[in-house]
Symmetry: C2
Subunit: 581 residues, 2 copies
């Protein structure tokens, strides 16, 4: 924070990089500097921004974003907190009518924040207009005491990120001025009349921004994990590759290479796809400023797809890295447990992955049907009704594999759409039919998203400016990524007829060759991520490889090691050992 | 412990059930009552047992099992701790020559145990005979102080099970009597001469026993997780299945059914396979007592396979259940985080899964080659060279699916063996060739093991004594399990030609029907696991469904909620908020 001020960096611009470098076990100010600042900028009108943004930048106001309730997450329209306009006093009355309406989860809400942007059901002139954002002071700006009518606290221990004070919040007929409604898009006038927003979807902006930030942070966490596990695998010697010979580095084992190298590749795949979404976001922002919102759904869907896949991939990748370090990966000082516990939550927050993938699927089905009817569809989904033929590229070349992906994805969407039609004929209700097909629909969304990531990885590597040697390593990594994900999804390729069993055997053989070829690059690749030891915070992953000494030294710090005989001995163990049972 | 004494249950018999009911966050006495007791029984000779077992049963001795070293896990022959026989004093001198030879991990070693069975390289008459077990006193039996020459402590915080005091241990030329070597199998006589064991593999017993105990405990943990997630999914209402209609129970969503029901099935699959391994263990024990050790390798391999698959399945299943509860699954009071952190370690301990699966694969390849040469092979792998034909059973019947599994597994072993031969021709070294095929070999082991589990699930359900209604539900669960695992492994079935793309579509359709059919059984099924609320320890999974009230009540207990304004405000936040940066 001090650094930002010294370098005169505005809060909002700083926040996307801040999300990257956040302490892994959570920072109580992170929501203040990222979501709160961002939401204020996009939801408050200019006058409101003038009023609150300077105070937020000077940390007089420390804010959080209170949307989720204990009984309501994904489905924002289901929120129960009410904001009823009282025309007499020109105030909104905030109230939590039920236990399920308790705001729950916001970071920093428990003890840190003194204000929040609160989403509540807006009622005026006897009518409900759905959830709207309000700026709400929660604590006295001088004493930090919670204000009357505001009941709040911390939600208790969690799997990880326990240095963040996630909080809960209830209102008891708590009054705020009318002008605290964030009025950039909708307004309630003094007489209580409601003015609706010009465009419904403009508030997508914050969500897209937050999701791209998550994708970036996922790639960074995964990069930390592969750095730790790869370095450890070069230090650890175990078992005999050849009986009687010295124990080799465990990185010599193909099974270990298979656990690590695809996830090193995954870091690049996530980063490159995120960059492409960011580029699109800039284009869309430029179009919107010219009044063109046409590309907004495409951006929204891609941000959903990337958030879902990258959170899944990085969580699984980190866990694979942790397990690849054997027992030592279970020790907190390895750094791997907190990487896992602080990344797995990205699967759930800012749109639960299954829900996001079903939104992607809805877009795929809609676009497929539009394409069939000859209606215009947006670029990323044109292939669904016009997949290119297979024979244009040399067999099993990168381009051929991307085509196989495209055809398999189009094929899966087509089959699932037929299934949806059949279900609709049975159920006579689109929503029931949709639900009955939803597992298959999630598969569609996953395959399409994976295709997008593979395509972005490949096109980036092909256009990257780098030395021949660097490019060659990146090409190998990209090839490994393509083949690895094809083998993981081989059923789709076999069923679409784009690859045969023999093709897959050939690709598998090539994948094993690539593992051996890339093995000498593993340590240089993770060194190139260039994490300082202080940031990695790992006994297993430090640059100098002093693994066992560091583990032993860290163990000495255990509170239990302060005395030879622990208190528990006298209290519990001695009576048990001396009893005559 | 008191209960055992009251009911006069010997320590060793109690331990397998004890492993089940262990507190989830770890019990410092668990290694004493399970592995230590078991190892003493199987490694000590009768005289030694007379000396130590009564003391262990009365808890005068509290023991642990110290094998793993900080630099040596899986590869026992690589252990560095030495036990050098001194014929002058008739003592062994235990020593830790390097930092990597530090004993590391044993449960209870840090502060609880006063003795350990220590595995060390036995040297006598100038020759090394490899790792052997020794009974070693570590702490004074009266004062509990660590003894001179023994350096020990706790290894520090971990991802989970932090109420267990996992420890480290070093010896500085520490002397123990010759008679402390556990001499049931090998001996060192007074003059220092070494007597080797009659049968090398008899010490497998403890490992098999421990692995079966792990399999049982995995099924129990998974059962807890599905109970919590299923009950929560019946309480939680979210989103709109049909626009405008009330929010349904999330268990109505097919994607949620798909997350939970296959794991409910998995509990049964793991339990039934474990029972079959236990039955085999009893048979093998009976045979061994008649001097027949022929079936021992089969038992060893099956216990490896079951430990690997059940630890993997239960860990992934618990995590799927946790994520299926959305954000609330991340809260400690849900019980799900500790179920995960206490189960994931079973992937690593008592034989790391990849290592175990490669042992299974070695057995498969060996048996396949033996079968080809007409040599006798053991029952579980006869199918590799004599798979039954496909056409004997009605298409897509359970029996046909099991046959498809068998043929696909045999096919994969056959292809991998050919690959191994090709690699051998290239490398001219079996071990390098083996390593170059090891990812494929792991796949062989996984498919074979999955086939075994499916087969045991089916044969148990077919022979179970139950009412028609109960049997019918179990049959549906078993069918779901079969189809689910076939879809997950569909590449193998398509490539072996046992199932076509159309078959798979038909099976998928049936799977979706089964999800809908089993949905009303979900809550009764988990209720039937009959966990008391006290054992589940979950705000989300309690029997009465008071989810939100319990979450809110638990939150009040957070230490941060003792005061409205926290200390951290005065110490850190106020200076930041009032500063002029």
């Amino acid at each position: 924070m001090r650094k930002l001020a010294e370098h005169n960096i505005p809060l909002r611009e700083a926040s996307i990089t801040q999300v990257h470098s956040v302490l892994r076990d959570g920072n109580p100010l992170i929501v203040h500097t990222s979501m709160f600042a961002n939401a204020l900028a996009s939801l408050a009108n200019p006058k409101q921004q003038q009023q609150w943004v300077p105070l937020a930048e000077k940390n007089r106001i420390i804010g959080t974003y209170a949307q989720t309730e204990i009984g309501h997450g994904t489905f924002v329209r289901g929120l129960e907190t009410t904001a009823i306009f009282d025309p007499e006093t020109k105030e909104f009355v905030l109230h939590s009518p039920t236990i399920t309406s308790t705001k729950w989860w916001p970071g920093g809400l428990g003890k840190t924040a003194n204000a929040a942007i609160v989403m509540a059901q807006l009622y005026t002139q006897g009518k409900c207009y759905g959830p709207h954002p309000f700026f709400v002071q929660l604590r006295d700006f001088d004493t930090h005491h919670s204000l009357p009518g505001v009941i709040l606290g911390e939600i208790g221990p969690r799997l990880g990120i326990n240095s963040q004070d996630n909080g809960y919040l209830r209102f008891d007929h708590y009054r705020i001025p009318r002008t605290n409604m964030l009025m950039r898009h909708s307004q309630v006038l003094e007489d209580g009349s409601y003015v609706k927003p010009i465009h419904n979807k403009l508030s997508y902006g914050t969500m897209v921004w937050t999701r791209v930030a998550i994708v970036h942070s996922c790639s960074k966490k995964l990069a930390c994990a592969v750095t730790i596990a790869t370095r450890y695998s070069a230090v650890r010697h175990q078992s005999e590759l050849v009986p009687g010979k010295p124990e080799p580095q465990i990185l010599e084992y193909q099974t270990q290479q298979y656990k690590l190298l695809p996830h090193i590749a995954s870091v690049f795949a996530i980063l490159f796809s995120a960059s492409s979404v960011l580029r699109m976001q800039r284009n869309v922002a430029a179009s919107i400023s010219k009044g063109n919102v046409e590309l907004l759904p495409e951006l929204h869907i891609l941000s959903c797809a990337m958030k879902a896949l990258s959170s899944q991939d990085s969580t699984q990748g980190i866990e694979t890295c942790r397990l690849a370090c054997g027992g030592h990966g279970y020790i907190a000082s390895s750094g791997l447990p907190s990487l896992y516990t602080s990344t797995t939550c990205t699967i759930t927050y800012e749109g639960e992955n299954t829900v996001l993938l079903l939104q992607v699927a809805r877009y795929l089905i809609k676009s497929y049907r539009a394409g069939l009817e000859g209606l215009p569809v947006l670029p990323s989904v044109m292939y669904l009704t016009a997949p290119s033929a297979m024979h244009q590229s040399p067999p099993l070349s990168n381009q051929a594999l991307i085509e196989a992906f495209r055809i398999s994805s189009a094929n899966l969407v087509k089959e699932t759409e037929s299934r949806l039609c059949r279900q609709f004929n049975l159920e006579q209700n689109f929503h029931y039919a949709w639900n009955r097909c939803s597992v298959a629909l999630v598969h569609c969304a996953e395959l399409h998203s994976r295709y997008y990531m593979c395509e972005k990885f490949l096109s980036t590597v092909e256009s990257i400016r780098a030395s021949d040697r660097v490019r060659s390593v990146l090409q190998d990594l990209c090839r490994l990524y393509l083949i690895h994900h094809i083998t993981l999804n081989q059923g789709h390729f076999l069923r679409s007829g784009t690859l045969s069993g023999v093709d897959l055997s050939t690709l598998e053989e090539e994948m094993y060759e690539l593992l051996a070829k890339l093995r000498p690059q593993a340590v240089p690749l993770v060194d190139a991520f260039d994490f300082r030891d202080e940031l990695l915070g790992s006994t297993l992953g430090a640059w100098d490889g002093r693994v066992y000494e560091r583990l032993y030294e860290e163990a000495q710090k255990s509170p239990l090691n302060k005395t030879d005989v622990s208190k528990a001995y006298h209290k519990y163990l001695q009576p048990l050992m001396k009893s005559n049972l």
